[in-house]
């Protein structure tokens, strides 16, 4: 039997095995180092997240029309990076096999090396049996300590992990549907009534008349740019402090406009990581409450990519009586009571459009309307005010950065929205598309205007159109009365006074057109660009420039500049105009302007 030679030694075979062991060991080590380098290359050459391709894709997505040459360049680069990736991967596979062979050879040679110089059994002075016997006592101690160690590690783990996650998850998420008895049902109902949702249900839905007395949305009631009150201070200088009832610094940035209901003013601010809602007292200017949004289910972990001019809080909030709503660029939508209690919150999905989500909210009846425009799927959504549950969803053909308006037409209330190609009217209660008129083009940011039975929509690099709504309530027939294309707004939205339409351009023109004839009544070149929207207050048009000047113009067929007032800092938001007061948000402050002050 071969076992007889178990302890046979051979110096030659030992040296031979040693040489093979050393050579195969070095070989394996070199292959291993090469593999490490190769492995890092594979990690670096990730074709999916290639920086250059990503950049080119973004450029491609931002183009108004398809660019076959750019698409081909992206394809070529994509193919190249994929080829590089797979070539490196092939090298990795070959290297792995080589390393496997090398290590196997090393192990075999190592085994033989040990075999041909095996130590003969040596008898220790102290028999191993004695050590073994003494090891019993050591074993008892070590096992006992091992048990204590296990217990300690277990307890430590439990202490470190207890409540680490679930205790901070919104309690509502953790509430499993209870199999309640009648007594429990009663308790649950009582609890539900006391819950934010219950509070929201208990809030009365305000009528249109109440909405008119407030400034519930961007550009006022119905978002049409027409103030109910006819008085607004016309002589003030914010830089000098004249006419300032109060002034306060704003916190996080945001271009959204303030909304007001009774004695509460709301707006939002956000940066890449934080989203906040603020409530101020309209009389004192004091911060009543501030809420930082939690993350909701589906809130993206990464901040969205937004245009610098849009920011993370471009959409204006909506206030509907005792309930307020805010939306942010990442798709987070939240509702609070006027007292700052959280009612509901959700994420509507990251709106994928290249400037970032900018459409403002609008609440009417018992629904909240969200224009959720995504490059892949544009929609108009309606949410139940009390529960935040989706009531309906209407598909839109193309996107825009404009905001919905509520028009109280002779056919009943309608939601009117601008898209990149059309102006569309929807039924507020069902989301049914009532009419659609093609008249727009380009990337549309101005919202439509409504007044006296006509809709006005315009966009830079496209055209301006006045649309008459004919037909019946069951079959509304839109008709373009006239079109105009000399001066057009880029961001600022127009306003109608029944006989005239007023709008401001980014190039600095303030324009008035005759709604009947479509003729240019006047065009006034002003010294600054306009992003804020003009508002009709009584017989005056108030318009705020981006450099910090407020222009007050007489509404009429002849141009009459009534006042040029100084804000003293950049302004993008549209102010709220209430009885004798203007609430103005600049880039760094919030002002309440009242004539009697200063």
């Amino acid at each position: 039997m071969l076992e007889k030679r178990e302890f046979e030694q051979s110096d030659f075979l030992y040296r031979l095995s040693l040489a093979v062991t050393v050579v195969s060991g070095f070989f394996s080590l070199i292959v291993f180092l090469l593999l490490v380098v190769n492995y890092m290359q594979i990690r670096a050459a990730d074709p999916v997240n290639n920086e250059m391709i990503t950049k080119m894709r973004q450029e491609y997505a931002a183009l108004p029309e398809e660019d076959p040459a750019l698409a081909q360049r992206i394809r070529d680069l994509d193919l190249l990076t994929r080829k590089a990736f797979f070539t490196t991967q092939t090298h990795l596979r070959v290297g792995a096999v080589m390393l496997l062979v090398g290590v196997s050879l090393f192990l075999i040679a190592f085994k033989y090396m040990m075999r041909w110089k095996r130590d003969l059994p040596k008898l220790a002075e102290t028999p191993t049996a004695e050590k073994e016997f003494l090891a019993f006592a050591q074993s008892r101690q070590l096992i006992a300590w091992g048990g204590v160690g296990l217990l300690g590690v277990g307890m430590m783990t439990a202490l470190l992990t207890e409540g680490a996650i679930y205790s901070t998850v919104d309690a509502r998420i953790l509430e499993a549907p209870p199999a309640a008895t009648s007594a429990q049902n009663a308790a649950t109902e009582a609890q539900a009534a006391a819950s934010p949702e219950g509070i929201a249900k208990a809030i009365e839905t305000p009528a249109w008349e109440a909405m008119e007395l407030n400034w519930p949305t961007f550009r006022g009631p119905g978002s049409t740019g027409v103030a109910h009150f006819t008085s607004a201070p016309t002589q003030w200088d914010l830089a000098a402090g004249t006419g300032v009832k109060w002034k306060t610094e704003t916190q996080l940035p945001g271009h959204n406009s303030p909304v007001v209901w009774e004695n509460r003013l709301y707006f939002s601010g956000a940066n890449e990581t934080t989203r906040e809602v603020y409530c101020y007292d309209t009389e004192s200017g004091e911060l009543v409450w501030k809420k930082t949004l939690d993350r909701f289910q589906g809130t993206p972990a990464e901040p969205p990519k937004v245009n610098e001019e849009a920011g993370f809080a471009a959409p204006s909030m909506a206030v509907h009586g005792k309930q307020v709503f805010a939306i942010f660029a990442n798709g987070d939508l939240a509702s609070y009571t006027a007292e700052g209690e959280f009612v509901w919150g959700l994420n509507i999905g990251l709106p994928d459009n290249h400037y970032g989500h900018a459409s403002s909210l609008l609440a009417y009846g018992n629904l909240l309307y969200v224009q959720r425009d995504d490059n892949s799927k544009a929609r108009l959504l309606a949410f139940d005010l009390a529960t935040g549950k989706e009531a309906w969803e209407a598909e839109r053909k193309t996107i825009s950065w404009a905001s919905p308006i509520l028009a109280r037409t002779s056919f009943g209330p309608q939601l009117i929205l601008n898209s990149e190609a059309t102006v569309d009217g929807y039924a507020p209660d069902t989301g049914k598309l009532l009419w659609s008129q093609e008249c727009l083009g380009g990337e549309v940011a101005p919202s439509p205007a409504y007044g006296n039975g006509v809709v006005f929509a315009a966009n830079e690099y496209a055209t301006a159109s006045l649309i008459k709504l004919n037909g019946t309530a069951e079959a509304i027939q839109p008709e373009i009365a006239w079109q105009y294309d000399s001066f057009l707004p880029e961001v600022s939205s127009p306003v109608l006074d029944g006989e005239r339409v007023y709008f401001a351009t980014s190039a600095g023109q303030l324009v008035a057109l005759d709604t009947k004839a479509g003729t240019e009544l006047w065009v006034e070149e002003l010294a600054e660009s306009f992003y804020s929207s003009p508002v009709l207050v009584g017989d005056k048009v108030f318009i705020l420039g981006t450099e910090g000047k407020m222009y007050i113009v007489q509404a009429g067929s002849d141009f009459a500049l009534l006042a040029t007032l100084n804000v003293g800092e950049g302004t993008f938001a549209t102010p709220a105009y209430l009885d004798g007061k203007i609430y103005l948000r600049s880039t760094g402050h919030l002002y309440c302007i009242e004539s009697s002050h200063g």
Binding site: E3, L35, I74, R75, D78, F110, G154, T168, V169, A176
Partner: protein, 421 residues
């Protein structure tokens, strides 16, 4: 050695089968290339009865090699065959180690049965252990075989440390039972460190673990078998009562002491030195203390086990997913993973998921208590065993821990005499 461990890890991580993790989406733009449709391949046709017969044959041959041929070389060659057939050819499944969970599932999970083939895989090695000792471990088990082949320069670690680390096997068995009983899955298979080698593909972590265990096994022989194998616990229990077992000398031991250091597994029970025999009164007193303290120790273990229900419950995929989703929703982790993405694409709500997870946590409270109690019981039994040292006069294999690998054969001077005869 650390370098070699690292080499092994990277080597294993770079195996071709692992390339599955490198898959990525097709190009965004349309090309003429048509992406093949996804399809589910038909299940491989396997003959379980044949595998069971192969297992039986391998056990019989190994038993013959251990008892009649007493051939270390024969056992070594048998290990190579087992590794090739049960490991690489049958890709490590089914194996008796994993079949433990099937049997546990048959016990704990309603409406789950155990096939005759699986049952035979579970029972056969245990029966052989009951009669012949751990011949299955000697050269039939593919997990043991691969470790036996790489155990080139084994060193003997302290018997005390060996016994303490051996508690890991009981812990793993307990965890595997908890895994099956709570529906968390087959943990032994999920964390099988060698199956990735047999199949040439697994997660990076498991391939790395397998590589590390193998490279560690060059110097500390069979680390998985000795410190982790849950099936080894059952085999050891059976082997304790084995009717026949490998003997170091084929005929009466001459107490030459040559085999003292031959076993890298510390599986040789040595003769009790007469001058070190303990005062029986002292031993009995210690035993009494341990016996009296045992209920308290077990209760403490149960309480300790109960208290770890929260981290323990994370072995359950539903709890793990629920926590991941919660972490994502709270913004504590960046991005998502395949599981959370798949969940969000499903119709199941987050509320339902969290509700299920919370329900499972309650189950884990009970399971944790049982696990803690079981471990405490094992520790008590070990302490009792170590408190009563049997008087021995010759060198004998420790029936529970001896793998019947035959490493001690060549060291016995009686052996050549037997071979010559």
């Amino acid at each position: 050695m650390l370098l070699w461990l690292f080499i092994g890890g990277v080597l294993l991580a770079s195996l071709p089968g692992n390339a599955a993790e490198m898959r990525f989406p097709p190009p965004d733009f349309q090309t003429e290339y048509r992406i093949p449709d996804l399809y589910t391949p038909a299940p491989a046709t396997t003959n379980g009865v044949f595998d069971a017969l192969m297992l039986f044959a391998a056990l019989c041959i190994t038993t013959w090699l251990v008892f009649r041929a007493r051939s270390r070389r024969g056992l070594f060659l048998m290990s190579i065959f087992s590794l090739a057939y049960f490991g690489f050819y049958r890709t490590g499944c089914i194996c008796p180690v994993g079949s433990t969970q099937n049997v546990l599932a048959g016990i704990f999970v309603p409406d789950v049965g155990v096939s005759i083939v699986v049952l035979s895989f579970f029972v056969m090695p245990l029966l052989f252990s009951l009669f012949f000792g751990r011949v299955f471990c000697a050269s039939v088990c593919p997990l043991g075989a691969i470790q036996e082949l790489v155990a080139i320069a084994p060193i003997r670690i302290s018997p005390a440390l060996d016994r303490t680390l051996g508690l890991g096997r009981y812990l793993y068995l307990g965890l595997a039972t908890v895994g099956v009983a709570t529906g968390a899955g087959f943990l032994i298979c999920r964390y099988d460190p060698f199956v990735g080698l047999y199949r040439l593909g697994h997660s990076y972590g498991m391939l790395l673990a397998g590589g590390v265990i193998l490279l560690l096994g060059v110097f500390i022989a069979r680390p998985y078998c000795r410190f982790l194998c849950p099936y080894g616990v059952l085999l050891g229990w059976m082997s304790r009562f084995s009717k026949w077992h490998l003997d170091i000398p084929p005929s009466p031991c001459v107490s030459c002491r040559l085999c003292e250091n031959s076993c890298p597994y510390n599986a040789i029970d040595m003769p009790t030195p007469a001058h070190l025999v303990e005062d029986p009164i002292k031993g009995k007193r210690r035993l009494r203390y341990i016996l009296f303290a045992s209920p308290l120790i077990i209760a403490m273990g149960a309480v300790g086990g109960y208290s770890i229900y929260e981290p323990l419950s994370r072995v359950h995929p539903t709890v793990a997913l629920s926590e991941r989703v919660a972490l994502e929703d709270l913004g504590r982790v960046q991005g998502d993973i395949l599981e959370s993405r798949t969940f969000r694409a499903s119709e199941k709500t987050v509320e339902t998921l969290h509700g299920e997870a919370l329900g499972l946590r309650d189950v884990f409270k009970k399971a944790g208590a049982w696990l803690g109690g079981f471990m405490a019981l094992i520790i008590c039994l070990k302490l009792i065993e170590l408190s009563t040292v049997p008087k021995r006069e010759v060198y004998t294999p420790h029936k529970e821990t001896c793998f019947s690998c035959g490493r001690c054969y060549p060291y016995c001077p009686v052996e050549p005499k037997r071979v010559a005869s």
